[in-house]
Amino acid sequence: MGSHASSKVTQLLSLWSQGEASAREKLVPLVYEELRRLARRCLADQSCAHTLQSADLVHEAYLRLAGRASVHYQDRIHFFAVAARMMRGILVDHARMSRAAKRGGGAITLFLDDAIASSQDTGVDLLALNDALTRLAALDARQTEIVELRFFGGLSIEDTARALGISPATVKREWATARLWLHNALRGTVAT
């Protein structure tokens, strides 16, 4: 992505911070494309292909898109908020696909060494987590956002607080109970 796109991202982020909602809509495809492009580049380089974390990718995307410009701190947080949400979607789609492939349900492909990408290793079943998050969103939308930012976007408690405009203490509390709830949900023990 060239400097043109980069400045465009900076501009959109700034507009968004000023309360222009449509800026977010315009930002999404740019961020998405960059995430994807980065990942593909990463794939090509075998050394990182299998160790890349979504949070790293989000940060990398940020650096490439807006890093060189002087971006207001708040704008940066907004960027991560968008990227984290997208990360969730991307990863879940992917997990769904590779599960289908494992079951032999999906169309599996040729050419390649049968290395269907997998995104486990964090000990979490992404599809189950996604379902649980969807259920949690019905109970508490803000908690879900916190989890997205922390888990998929790799944001710290403080950054998460800034992104959502709440206190770090609140994030910390909400994060703790959300984790407990999700942990139990993933064990299938929480009644809904």
Binding site: A39, A44, Q53, I90, L110, F111, A138, R173, W181
Partner: protein, 865 residues
């Protein structure tokens, strides 16, 4: 849980988390004093927390990303990512111009700038695109997208051989089939001067319809320049001539391991390693490290295949051995030779089990005399000892793609579709689909379609397609598979021209189970088109009128058919239960009503229930079916039987039969019952015989039709012919009690009661003493003058009648034969209760068995309305 409740829980939880574990209990006691379930929920979450890993959700997931759905790459719109690996990502994409799904492989951007990898990629595309063969992945296009190269190919569904291998060794016959498909692809490639050089289970793909596709000619070295690409060849040659070890360790040939020039015989070696692996489930050369593996390839023999897999035919062991010769000069010198050896193997009977998916029609190319001799001596000779091998000289490598018009097909048989669901309990579903497809095809007048019962005989049979075609006297064979997964349904079908053993057409269909009826129509239409049959407008309508059906109802319907086809009392009753279930699930679905009608009719026909119980129900069900779909032949047929057999209205019956035959000219049962119930009954014996012959042609292996053919001959007074026909039926393996019953009756007519008794006795034995046959046996004894034995059976039946249905008319005949007129009239009156009296009397009038009653005044009473 509601958001309010969660807020409550969270509040308590927040506070509890601030406390030490020891303090929590007392806190919860207080906080949840009025709400014990709240306490329970909080405690549960806390308890779960104890098991929670400290880094739970603290490390973000690892990932590979893909192009977003909807992204346009040239003419292709990305749908989903299918896989990713070192050489790129592969997507399912939509070709927006040609409206088909394709596979698009995108080379990662950075790779695009790596000249070596780029060249290999282009090389793959060019080499593969030059090949056009059913066993090689079809490559459509090479393009560039945002600085990345991409390759468009046909989209395959299935799995790689590697995946399949992970599930263990495969049956020998399947291995042979797979191997010969791989060989065919290789023959085509080698002919064009293209060697794969990296053949391995990862590069062999098994589609869901059991077709093999060779993938990834990416490392293929162009042995001979293709037209117009000489400059490229020289570049390519450099890659391989530089002594770079290419290919995958474990499947590489010794010459490749040494970095020596490798030709097509390297593929033959790799082929051997793969064949070894699929047969044994173990890799031929597999050591701890690649270096050790390479040494093994150079120096060691793989563990004895014969010891790992005891049932591998010797000839096959030799094929593997010869592929794996270290010296290329000792291997098969061409894949054609190898293919010939495999072909000979599957032609012979040395492979246990049915030869599955032995795709017909492949010819191994010209076989030179020396090659032939070599092959026979080296490989086939062993096989030949037991069976003759036809040496095939073929004009064309790919006859099904050759020019010229399609062979004409005038008759078809649908072989039992294979159940690919991996679940034996789904067998009824595959069988049911076979039957339904047959029924659909039967609607086409211009082609003779063999009925279900005859085709089903080949479910387990170990016979070649030409052999089956000969036995059924057809020129076309349809075979295929059914796979059901939840509410998705996939059907594969292929059409084979039997006399020339060529493949004319193959197609895979995938639909929602709900659309199964229209899918069947579509398959039937496609087949009709393929055999260049012009459908009449009425046929078009009949093949496109099927609407949606509740999948559960459809399933119950198929189960009903499955039981009905058993032709036992239990089978009929279970069938009825399933048909009723199907109706309950979808009251607007016509076929289960037709099934119900047929079930009631056959229950009566086989002597399990009286007519009065069966026919009104059959009539109601048939009428209901017709109300829902007038175009179904089955309910018209059922209704015709009710009219003829129960109402005695042969005119109305004939009209219904004719309508049924018009709707489905290939419906054997309609022809059969028309002959029995109308033509034979009204004394039109010649027509009856002709009609029955037609039924038999449509269902040549049906013992029921064969039996009833004998029956109408007997009714026509042609008892010698009847006896011959029934004997033939029995010789062909009929164990229907009905066959022996009619044979007995023919012997009675021929005044050879001794023989008749034998036959009646057999029918009693086969039916395990069913009253209908027992009564006939008694009658036989009486006719033979063995009154005592006859009386004994009469007593036995009388006693039986207290707890079981005993056909009254047959009882009356037996009573007359033993001279018990009182009882005879008792049973005749009972017969009048079971069936409309007019029907009974009509039969009675012309039945010589009752001649002695006619002078009795009670007989006149009976005739009085």
């Amino acid at each position: 849980m509601t958001p309010e409740r969660w807020r409550q829980i969270k509040n308590v939880l927040d506070s509890a988390l601030e406390l030490t574990v020891a303090e929590r209990s007392a806190f919860l006691e207080r906080a949840c004093a009025s709400d014990q379930s709240l306490r329970k929920e909080v405690e549960e979450l806390l308890a779960g927390g104890k098991e929670m890993a400290s880094n739970f959700l603290s490390t973000s997931p690892l990932l590979h990303l893909s192009l977003a759905e909807g992204t346009r790459i040239g003419d292709y719109q990305v749908k989903t990512l299918l896989g990713a690996g070192g050489m790129g990502e592969v997507y399912r994409a939509r070709d927006v111009r040609l409206h088909r799904d394709v596979a698009v492989k995108v080379l990662p951007a950075v790779l695009g700038s790596d000249p070596d990898r780029l060249r290999r990629f282009e090389q793959e595309a060019q080499a593969a695109a030059a090949l056009n063969h059913p066993n090689i992945l079809a490559v459509y296009q090479l393009g560039e997208y945002q600085g990345s190269l991409y390759l468009v190919s046909e989209l395959l569904e299935g799995e790689t051989l590697r995946k399949r291998c992970e599930r263990g060794a495969m049956p020998v016959r399947i291995c042979v089939d797979l191997a010969s498909q791989v060989a065919r692809g290789l023959v085509a490639a080698h002919e064009k001067g293209i060697v794969h050089r990296d053949l391995k289970p990862e590069n062999i793909f098994l589609t869901k319809d059991a077709r093999v596709k060779i993938l990834d000619f990416g490392l293929a070295k162009l042995k001979q320049p293709l037209q117009g690409s000489e400059t490229r060849v020289s570049t390519l040659d450099k890659i391989t001539q530089a002594g770079v070890v290419m290919g995958t360790v474990g499947y590489m040939s010794p010459e490749q391991v040494r970095g020596q020039p490798a030709d097509h015989r390297a593929d033959i070696f790799a082929f051997g390693t793969i064949l070894y692996e699929i047969l044994s489930g173990k890799r031929a050369f597999k050591k701890e490290t690649s270096a050790e593996t390479m040494v093994a390839i150079l120096k060691e023999e793989p563990p004895s295949l014969a010891q790992i897999v005891p049932n591998v035919p010797l000839a096959l062991l030799r094929i593997v051995q010869r592929c794996l010769e270290k010296d290329p000069g000792q291997r098969f010198q061409s894949v054609s030779d190898l293919g010939f050896a495999l072909d000979a193997l599957s032609d012979s009977n040395t492979i246990p089990g049915q030869v599955l998916n032995k795709s017909p029609g492949f010819r191994w190319g010209w076989i030179s005399a020396s090659t032939f001799a070599l092959a026979v001596i080296a490989v086939v000779g062993v096989v030949l000892a037991s069976s003759p091998v036809t040496v095939r000289y073929w004009r064309d490598l790919l006859p099904w793609r050759s020019t010229g018009s399609n062979p004409e097909i005038h008759s078809l048989a649908v072989l039992p579709l294979q159940n690919f669901s991996g679940d034996p309990s789904q067998e009824y579903f595959a069988d049911g689909m076979t039957e339904e497809l047959t029924a659909d095809l039967s609607k086409i007048g211009a082609v003779r379609v063999i009925s279900r019962t005859s085709a089903m005989r080949y479910k387990e049979a170990n016979k070649s397609l030409p052999e089956i075609a000969r036995e059924l006297n057809v020129d076309g064979i349809i075979e295929g598979s059914v796979e059901r997964s939840g509410n998705r349904l996939r059907i594969t079908a292929q059409l084979i021209h039997a006399p020339s053993d060529t493949h004319l057409w193959a197609e895979t269909y995938e639909r929602d189970l709900r659309d199964v009826l229209s899918l069947q129509d579509e398959v039937a239409r496609d087949i009709a088109n393929r055999i260049s049959i012009k459908l009449t407008p009425a046929e078009e309508t009949r093949l496109s009128s099927s609407g949606a059906v509740d999948p559960n109802a459809y399933q119950s319907y198929l189960e009903g058919r499955y039981y009905w086809n058993m032709r036992t009392e239990e089978g009929f009753n279970k069938g009825i239960a399933y048909f009723q279930d199907a109706i309950a699930k979808d009251p607007h679905y016509a076929l289960p009503y037709a099934g119900l009608a047929q079930s009631y009719i056959t229950l009566e026909g086989y002597g399990f229930v009286p007519g009065r119980q069966a026919f009104p129900r059959a009539e109601a069900a048939a009428l209901k079916a017709l109300q829902l779909d007038e175009g179904l032949a089955e309910p018209h047929t059922a209704l015709a039987v009710v009219f003829a057999h129960y109402n005695g209205d042969l005119v109305a019956a004939e009209k219904e039969f004719r309508r049924a035959i018009e709707l489905s000219p290939n419906y054997a049962t309609a022809h059969q019952w028309y002959a029995e119930e109308v033509l034979s009954q009204s004394g039109r014996h010649k027509e009856a015989i002709a009609e029955m012959k037609l039924a038999l042609q449509l269902d040549p292996l049906s013992v029921a039709i064969s039996t009833w053919y004998g029956a109408i001959l007997h009714r026509a007074g042609e008892d010698d012919e009847a006896i011959a026909q029934l004997r033939k039926t029995i010789d062909a393996g009929s164990n229907l009690p009905m066959t022996h019953l009619w044979l007995g009756r023919a012997y009675v007519a021929k005044k050879t009661p001794g023989k008749a008794i034998d036959e009646f006795q057999t029918s009693v034995d086969l039916s395990r003493g069913q009253p209908l046959y027992l009564a006939s046996l008694g009658y036989g004894y009486a006719v033979a003058g063995q009154t005592k034995a006859a009386a004994k059976i009469l007593a036995q039946l009388t006693e039986l009648s207290a707890r079981k249905y005993v056909p009254a008319y047959e009882m009356a005949a037996l009573c007359v034969a033993v001279g018990n007129k009182d009882q005879a009239f008792h049973w005749l009156r009972k017969a009048c209760e079971e069936n409309p009296c007019s029907r009974v009397i009509e039969t009675l009038k012309s039945d010589p068995a009752f001649d002695s009653l006619r002078s009795d005044p009670r007989y006149a009473d009976l005739l009085r309305p």
